[in-house]
């Protein structure tokens, strides 16, 4: 354990965006001088995002990746609105890696933090509006009519009752300058934004024709599987590959940074060979730890009272004002992401150029990793982004790209490297485990007077930076990267609080006197952002204590929250929407309702869960979910993300628990790392709160409230406050 530092320092506010992107954003990155899109013959590409072909086909180059969250449709809708073309008529391509496609806040080309619609809402519309203005200018010139006499309609210019495809004006548009700052449509004029339009990727995904990384098949491609240290950070001492080499179809067995790779003509041959391989590992300190010992370290850390802290108001005064107090401690375990498509990468290197095929949350980092391991300049690496079979934060970590490149270099073969489900559960990156403590008080008016919270656990940012750096700076030496990461670890351990570990713990409500303390504990298990990051566990502590305070104060749990949300009108609004919706609910015998409200990723979500507990088994029957995410681009996708986040959250609430035994993950596949199934899935009702605010996140904010909503319902059913995840009633 990296020690509990006794240093007490001022609090530096850090936000919980997907690990460390901001930091890299501030560092000068090498620029791209080549055009982002080279138009086909007869076409124009007035900017990096749009191409108009001679056949009047509009192509949109999506700067963000699609892993289920719906940007493929959502971002296309933004462009469609201002281009005045139906989004379903636009052909969508995943962008190549280029400066033009960098995330405006993260600095790298990445997807995460429920940010895509929020950060692209105006810029992408502007690009499309300028493109439409260019076509109008060209049409006015070609048709020799005043610009003001022209309008557009679904990919056509309308002049005097005649319609002309946009493509009629390509030649002239190509000679004109692209207008800037063209006016954007008013909300009242929206045709597509805000409409329930069926997703443009649904047909491909219902017919088996959508292409994922795992589907790439190249001539002479070989499969690679890797034997990795069962304990994270272990290194190869020696290996015996005699039996593995005897397996039919095996062509190469090579040592790489992460372990020993077996290369064969087919997946099945590689699978048989990896089972026959014998590797001896040098195990790191983590090998001495099992779950109980790790938890004991966390307990010692939080009990020490040490760490970094920040406070507002006066805790002592707040305690004196309180007529009732609640003090609770919470445990939330490590979790794996388990996207349905295990991570994989296809790498081909030939004639000084490399190509990568993969679905990732960070194609620019992926390009850098290929360049680093193939020892090529980044300009010589092409990334083909594909649909991702789930992300949830897992595809921000790209060691599989490094592995595939190392194997391709070592064997001089085109390689498809695939992680098995066992690799995915045991060898990856994990949601950080946490102990949290809240000591809070309420006065006779039902107002919270004090909120003193603490968390002990791993710091996410150094892990995220360590996985990003080698790809972000493809040619920087390894020692520079490890020095940077170790400096960061020290920084977070005693100097600043990692936002990803505490976000949401002291937020949302009008706490006049509040304190946040953090103690870093690190055992070496790699950590990654996991859907909703810190909010995925802080909401559990916060909303359970709020529920208990309401009970102590003798006030209904919704009323109590409302009283303390006067400074947070949007979360209040979401909660009131749930209150309203509940009026239509008839509760069957034995069913109980639990409430939770939590803001994350600039969106506001309140939920009610209807639960029964029979023979110690929790059954979640219904969830009512209200979200205020500002202007909605596609309501069907917003509802889908709420439904999905609730189901993803419920897997963690009912089952999720990565156990460590002698440093290794005990669980291995879906038989012992259980997932929520359809027969356990609640019905979900979603209320979208009307809003004129700019759009905000929907991929993650639906998750945090579901855990505490269920736990609070279980309390009503059993009288027992459950404070450990997964929830296990006595």
């Amino acid at each position: 354990m990296s020690g509990i530092k006794l240093t007490r320092r001022g609090f530096l506010k850090t936000t919980g965006i997907v690990g460390g992107g901001l930091l890299i954003g501030y560092v000068a990155m090498p620029g791209d001088n080549t055009p982002a899109v080279i138009p086909e013959a007869g076409a124009i590409a007035p900017n990096a995002f749009i191409q108009l072909t001679a056949e009047n086909k509009l192509v949109f180059y999506s700067p963000r990746d699609e892993m289920g969250q719906g940007v493929y449709m959502g971002l296309t809708t933004l462009v469609a609105e201002e281009l005045d073309v139906s989004p379903v008529d636009i052909q969508v391509e995943f962008a190549s890696v280029h400066d033009a496609y960098r995330h405006p806040e993260y600095g790298v080309q990445g997807t995460g933090g429920s940010s895509s619609i929020r950060v692209h809402y105006l810029p992408l519309r502007q690009v499309a509006a300028d493109t439409r203005a260019l076509l109008l200018n060209a049409a006015a010139q070609d048709l020799a009519v005043p610009l003001s006499s022209l309008t557009t309609d679904n990919g056509h210019i309308v002049s005097n009752g005649n319609t002309y495809p946009y493509s009629d004006f390509i030649a002239t548009a190509d000679t004109m300058e692209l207008p800037v700052g063209s006016p954007l449509k008013a909300k009242a004029d929206f045709k597509y934004i805000g409409q329930d339009i069926a997703r443009n990727d649904a047909l491909a995904k219902s017919t088996g024709t959508a292409v994922y990384g795992v589907d790439i098949d190249l001539p002479d491609m070989h499969y690679a599987l890797v034997s990795r240290s069962p304990v994270a950070g272990g290194t190869v001492v020696s290996f015996d590959d005699s039996a593995a080499r005897a397996v039919n179809g095996v062509t190469d067995i090579v040592q790489i940074d992460s372990g020993v790779a077996v290369v064969a003509k087919s997946f099945w041959q590689a699978k048989k060979a990896i089972a026959a391989l014998s590797v001896t590992w040098d195990q790191p300190a983590l090998a001495d730890y099992s779950s109980a010992l790790i938890k004991a370290d966390y307990q010692a850390a939080i009990d020490s009272g040490e760490g970094d802290s920040k406070s507002e108001g006066n805790i002592e005064e707040g305690l004196q004002l309180a007529t009732k107090q609640v003090e609770r401690e919470f445990w939330t375990p490590y979790l794996a992401h388990t996207p349905m498509e295990p991570v994989n990468a296809v790498v081909r290197i030939a004639n000084g150029k490399a190509e990568l095929w993969a679905g990732t949350q960070g194609p620019s980092t992926a390009r850098g990793l290929v360049a680093r391991h193939a020892q090529l300049p980044v300009e010589n690496v092409t990334v083909h982004s594909l649909f991702s079979g789930g992300g949830f934060g897992r595809r921000t970590c790209l060691s599989h790209v490094s592995e595939a490149t190392q194997v391709a270099v070592a064997t001089d073969k085109t390689i498809k490297l695939l992680w098995t489900r066992e690799n995915d559960v045991q060898n990856g990156w994990f949601r950080q485990a946490s102990i949290m403590k809240v000591h809070a008080g309420v006065d006779s008016q039902g107002l919270v007077t004090v909120w003193d919270a603490a968390r002990a656990g791993g710091d996410l940012t150094p892990h995220s930076i360590s996985s990003l750096l080698p790809g972000a700076f493809a040619s920087s030496p390894d020692w520079v990267n490890s020095m940077t990461v170790s400096a960061l670890e020290n920084l977070y351990d005693g100097w600043i609080i990692d936002g990803g570990g505490v976000e949401g713990l002291v937020d949302d409500y009008d706490f006049p006197n509040k304190k946040l303390r953090h103690t870093s504990v690190n055992h070496g298990l790699p950590l990654a952002p996991w859907r909703s990051v810190g909010h995925s566990f802080t909401a559990f502590a916060k909303e359970t204590v709020m529920d208990e305070l309401a009970e102590q104060a003798g006030i209904d749990s919704i009323d109590f929250r409302k009283r303390n949300l006067q400074g947070n009108p949007r979360l209040l609004g979401a909660l009131e929407a749930v209150e309203q919706g509940l009026k239509d609910w008839q509760l069957a015998e034995g069913r109980h309702i639990g409430i939770a409200a939590h803001g994350s990723f600039q969106s506001y979500v309140a939920q009610a869960a209807e639960v029964s507990v029979e023979k110690g088994k929790i059954r979640v029957h219904r969830v009512l979910c209200a979200i205020d995410c500002g202007q909605v681009v596609n309501p069907a996708i917003v509802r889908g993300q709420m439904e999905g986040a609730i189901m993803y959250g419920l897997t963690a609430v009912l089952y999720g628990d990565i156990q460590i035994e002698n440093g290794a993950v005990k669980e291995s596949n879906f038989h012992d790392y259980k997932m929520l199934r359809i027969n356990e899935a609640p019905a979900v009702e979603v209320i979208i709160v009307e809003s004129d605010q700019p759009p905000t996140g929907v991929g993650e904010p639906g998750l945090p409230p579901v855990g505490p909503a269920v736990a609070n319902a279980v309390y009503r059913a059993t009288g027992e406050r459950l404070t450990s995840m997964p929830l296990q009633p006595a």
């Binding site: 679904n154 649904a202 995904k205 219902s206 017919t207 498509e341 489900r421 889908g640 439904e643």
Partner: protein
């Protein structure tokens, strides 16, 4: 050599006999719609029909399907000739990441072949072997029940209103 019928065509596999059917179909016959999810019949992403029954192809040695008839998602319907379930899936916006959906649809199709009018509980029982990490379960259930309802004798055949863009 192992001979079987794949989407109506007689085919010969030269893969080793213990190779799971999933990899034979994906890599030797280049049909990529069926997915690898767990490799131990736990998640259903690889579901195919073997003589009409939904089976997990990731644990089915190709030698075990000699003479049998295999249907994959590609044989169920195509973008131009959709199976009613595929149509319902697309119209109701069931898929999110989409990776598990071929398996989901194959399980649903086998269910409706056997029981054209399943109850909600029967849908849940038949679909419990298919994991969806995106949590599309409510929409999967609705899509199956909608198709079942429409296929009933006397059912009014109303196309599900597809919320496509307004054509102005």
């Amino acid at each position: 050599m192992i001979e079987f019928t794949l989407n109506g065509k007689l085919v010969q596999s030269h893969d080793e006999p213990d190779t799971p059917l999933l990899w034979v179909v994906r890599d030797s016959f280049k049909l990529k719609g069926s997915k690898f999810g767990c490799g131990m019949a736990q998640c259903g992403a690889c579901t195919m029909h073997i003589d009409g029954r939904a089976q997990r192809s990731c644990v089915m040695p190709v030698a075990a399907v000699v003479g049998k008839s295999i249907t994959t998602i590609e044989g169920l319907g195509t973008p131009d000739n959709l199976h009613p379930l595929q149509q319902a899936w697309a119209e109701q916006g069931v898929p999110q990441c989409g990776y598990c959906q071929s398996g989901q649809i194959m399980s649903a199709a086998a269910l409706l072949n056997e029981n054209p009018n399943p109850s909600e509980a029967q849908v849940e029982a038949a679909m419990a072997g298919n994991i969806c990490r995106c949590g599309c379960y409510p929409r999967i259930k609705t899509a199956i029940l909608t198709v079942a309802e429409q296929s009933q004798p006397g059912a009014v055949q109303v196309a599900i209103p597809m919320p496509v863009s307004e054509e102005v």
